[in-house]
């Protein structure tokens, strides 16, 4: 069965355009949050303030506003100072910063490959004829232990 087509198409999202100053502020913060380590690249290096930011803001345009607040509040600080101050100054802006940086980072195909993430792929389910738990007799023993409900009329 096929459902009817959507009766009210969603509006095409308007791509937010963060200013260069915000990108310049974000880049070192992203590197501080997700640094190059353990064979993984830093977030800024992978475009956290550039292409990945654009990708994130298309999916989540609501994040730009708190991000701009974070920039305004901590723009003159070092990355370490900014990351210490922002949770106190504006928790919502700090949360948005984490979502932007991590959201962009883990959406990057290189990162997904490096961490071995194989989710969100269409792999038809295969129902085993005789799953391991049956072969091992696990359910037989559950049944043998008896019912675990109380009868009631």
């Amino acid at each position: 069965m096929t459902p009817a087509p959507p009766s009210q198409p969603e509006p095409t999202p308007v791509k937010p355009e963060p200013p260069d100053e915000l990108r310049d502020w974000l880049r070192p913060l992203a590197d501080a949050l997700i640094p190059a380590e353990d064979g993984m690249p830093a977030a800024g290096h992978l475009g956290a303030a550039d292409a990945q930011l654009d990708l994130v803001l298309v999916a989540r345009p609501d994040l730009l506003r708190p991000l701009q607040r974070g920039h305004a509040l901590t723009g003159g600080m070092s990355p370490a100072e900014a990351l210490t101050a922002l949770p106190e100054l504006d928790p919502a802006a700090h949360s948005a910063l984490l979502e932007v940086v991590a959201g962009g980072y883990y959406a990057h195909p290189e990162v997904r490959e490096l961490i071995g993430y194989t989710g969100q792929q269409a792999v038809p389910v295969r129902v085993a004829d005789f799953p391991e738990y049956l072969a091992e007799g696990l359910l037989e023993r559950v049944v043998a232990r008896g019912r675990v409900y109380r009868p009631a009329d």
């Binding site: 609501d62 979502e99 023993r141 009631a152």
Partner: protein
């Protein structure tokens, strides 16, 4: 449809095209009734679901959130929940909250219908498990439930129509642990197809069930019921938001006022009105339908409309394993379940119990920014933290029975409206003493389970705020009009041509995901309506 004095008129008007509305519409249309359903949301577009997109987890936190307050879409109504321990979750659209549910499909247990008699708490239902069982069987087939019969947590006769979905490496680990502990476990029933069924495709394991199933393998009435209901003659009008039920001088419903997608206010007449808007939406509508004859809201002579809200307080325990269990692959609902601590044991210091569902723990963004138990690490150590979480964790989701409490309630929020100007609801909900003791006990036991399964570390969340999916109890059914809102078939005691067919009618909550019971009750109520059509009082 027809018209009376130029006004559109139908035999049955249904408010809400979700789980119960879809079931009721399908059965009524099949029986030849003229049916109109008004749905404030729209047809979901499976092609727009975020599952395949790399930004899926980001979108899940806003546009595809379960919270109407977070989504903030025009078709949503706000729920003032700042004074509540648990936030209300739902979805407005054809299929209703099934679009975003996990599709766990357990039944209530026999004792859930008799908590007063057996345990001296809550209230007995005006029906028994045995009376509902035939309807469970029919709705299991209609929705295409995958699972395994023979579960000793249920009476015989609860065999799902399709074989169980894979339990995964994590499920097998925990199953073996329960074998060693001598504790109950069973492959979980899910309303997700394990094989092609009635023209629908089987699951392809995106692992994104709670943001819409692009394959249509997860059951929701937009794919399981509405196409056939419409083919049988039912009319489904989307973008149509009901503001109030209208009544005449005899105290009978005459229809409803609603606002359409263009913002035009309209009235539709109906012989019978079915409310299928969930336990917040239905209570809101009844309260918004106050009139000089019904000054406290429609059907509210008992004073119980909106009261006794139950949401299943929800805790979860996370276990970290050295080996990969890849729990982000496959269905999101339960892999396995345990009813070991479901029934009352007075030695534990509380009444009733909890059902456990072994759940996956999400993809990489959720590993970095957990939405359940867990923590975040930024800067040095970030990558090790994510690697420890991603694909190497499983979570026991613990649903505790929520005893009814009249202080937990849905009210109208002063000054708050939806985008059409219709008064919006406020919820007040506090986790009771019994629930807190129940959750604490089960957290300790679930931790024991995961440690036995080999977890080298566990974390827990004692109460998850964004967990209010299971909205129940705000128009409870019963035989006494002084202590219940509806009769045992959902008909308002005060207005006999208005029938509540959603989870509002639950006298108690049980401790299981309620959708399978909601749809079984909806089918039962609809069949009763059909069988008694000749005796049905109407305003006409």
């Amino acid at each position: 449809m027809g018209s009376v004095d130029g006004m559109e008129h139908t035999e049955v008007l249904i408010v809400g095209a979700g789980a119960s509305g879809g079931v009721a519409a399908g059965r009524l249309a099949e029986a030849g009734f003229r049916v109109v359903c008004l749905e404030q949301g729209h047809w979901p577009d499976r092609g727009s679901y975020p599952a395949p997109r790399p930004t899926y987890e980001l979108e899940a936190r806003q546009r595809w959130s379960g919270s109407p307050n977070v989504r903030g879409l025009a078709e949503d109504y706000p729920v003032e929940d700042s004074g509540s321990d648990v936030a209300a979750l739902m979805f407005a659209g054809v299929g209703g909250s099934m679009i975003l549910y996990a599709a766990d499909w357990p039944r209530l247990l026999p004792s859930d219908f008799r908590t007063r008699t057996l345990d001296g708490v809550g209230d007995d239902w005006p029906l028994s498990y045995a009376e509902l069982a035939p309807f469970y069987e029919r709705t299991d087939r209609a929705f295409g439930v995958a699972g395994l019969g023979g579960n000793p947590a249920l009476p015989e006769g609860a065999d799902p129509p399709l074989p169980p979905l894979p339990i995964g490496a994590g499920g097998l680990r925990v199953a073996r642990a329960h074998d060693r502990l001598g504790w109950h476990w069973w492959p979980a029933p899910n309303a997700v197809l394990s094989a092609p069924y009635r023209g629908r495709h089987a699951c392809v394991q995106y692992g994104t069930c709670m943001q819409g199933c692009p394959e249509g393998a997860k059951a929701s009435t937009d794919v399981t019921h509405w196409p056939e209901a419409i083919a049988a003659g039912a009319t489904l009008r989307t973008g149509a938001r009901v503001s109030r039920i209208l009544t005449n001088s005899a105290g009978l419903a005459t229809g409803a006022e609603y606002v359409d997608r263009d913002g035009s206010w309209r009235v539709i007449g109906a012989d019978v009105v079915l409310l299928a808007a969930n336990a917040i939406g239905t209570a809101r509508l009844l309260l918004n339908s106050a009139s000089p004859r019904f000054p406290d809201g429609l059907g509210n002579s008992s004073g119980l409309v909106g009261k006794r809200l139950m949401v299943h307080p929800f805790a979860n325990v996370l276990g970290y394993f050295s080996d990969r269990v890849d729990s982000y692959i496959g269905h999101v609902g339960a892999k396995i379940v345990s009813y070991e601590f479901y029934e009352t044991d007075t030695s534990r210091g509380f009444s009733r119990g909890a059902k456990w569902s072994l759940a996956p723990t999400g993809g990489p963004l959720t590993s970095a920014l957990p939405t359940r138990a867990g923590s975040s690490t930024w800067g040095p150590g970030h990558h090790a933290h994510v690697r420890a979480h991603l694909g190497r964790t499983v979570s026991w989701a613990i649903f505790g029975e929520d005893l009814p409490d009249e202080d937990n309630r849905v009210e109208l929020a002063p000054g708050l409206t939806d985008s059409s100007g219709i008064p919006a609801p406020r919820i007040r909900y506090r986790v009771g003493e019994n629930s807190r003791a129940l959750l604490d006990f089960n957290i300790a036991k679930a931790t024991e389970s995961l440690v036995e399964a080999g977890a080298y570390r566990t974390e827990y969340e004692s109460l998850m705020r964004y967990s209010g999916w299971h909205l129940l109890g705000t128009a409870r059914m019963g035989t006494d009009p002084a202590t219940s809102v509806t009769d045992p078939h959902g008909r308002l005691h005060d207005v006999p041509n208005v029938c509540v067919v959603d989870g509002s009618v639950f006298p108690t909550s049980g401790a299981v995901n309620p959708t399978s019971t909601i749809v079984a009750l909806a089918l039962r109520a609809t069949e009763h309506l059909i069988a008694n059509r000749r005796n049905q009082r109407t305003a006409a």
